[in-house]
Amino acid sequence: MPGTKRQEQKKQTRSRILEAAIEQFAKQGLTTTSTVAIAEAAHVAHGTVFAHFSTQEELLSAAIEEFGKRINQRLHELAGAGGGVREVLAAHLKGLTEHEAFYTRMITEARLLPEEARNTLIMIQSTASFHLSEAVEKEITAGSIQPLPVHLVFNGWVGLVHYYLANSDLFAPGGSVLERYGHELLQYYMTLIKAR
């Protein structure tokens, strides 16, 4: 049916623009990427972008929401596999490494983003902190890590990882900061929290 075919094409174009947007936002920044650059990357006319997303903000929100869904799903899959605190932190690092460029943009530009985008970031942290808190509570009971408040175990870890990500240009110019330092950060953090 022609109508259905047209709808299908429309869906495909929207998805191509969204994919190009996620890639360009990761490369050039969430608040600084132009819709012209996104249109070029998606191989569509500039006006086509606005036929699918009425404003640049709408495109940014859609890209952040889609990214949030993907990383949440992946973090849940990786960190939900069970294991102790070390395994959950390693899974967290793996999930972040797979989405490092866009995630880094989100955390470095967080205060400049609309509230909606900041809430998506909190939801990403909810997924990670959910699995971590379960593992932390088990290990505190077992006596293998120190009896620390779960939110501080999470925030301490995220603070460390985010510091390296936010300064990736200094720690790993042109490369993945998590691939380069992830193992070292994990070793260090486990030493900090393990029971004496």
Partner: protein
């Protein structure tokens, strides 16, 4: 794979479902002890409390984030929030 209609959590294992009932569309964390789904107010309160406990955020900021996340989920699309 099912995704919880009330909190968005992917449900992979039997233990992710209320009392192991894989026919349910909501997860164990969104169920009351009898297996029925929590109300909007109950879920908002438990979601907020979880964010405060696991991330240490200010309660109001946590509540706003929980509201925003719930607004995107099918279980609450017809709920008019304040």
């Amino acid at each position: 794979m099912k995704v919880c209609i009330a909190c968005g959590m992917p449900m992979q294992e039997k233990s992710d479902f209320p009392n192991g009932d894989t026919n349910k569309d909501y997860c164990a964390h969104c169920a009351r002890p009898d297996g029925s789904m929590q109300s909007y107010e109950e879920k908002l309160a438990s979601y907020t409390a979880f964010i405060v406990r696991a991330q240490g955020l200010d309660r109001q900021a946590a509540c706003a984030a929980a509201r925003s996340a719930m607004a995107k989920l099918p279980a609450w699309e017809n709920v008019h929030t304040r």
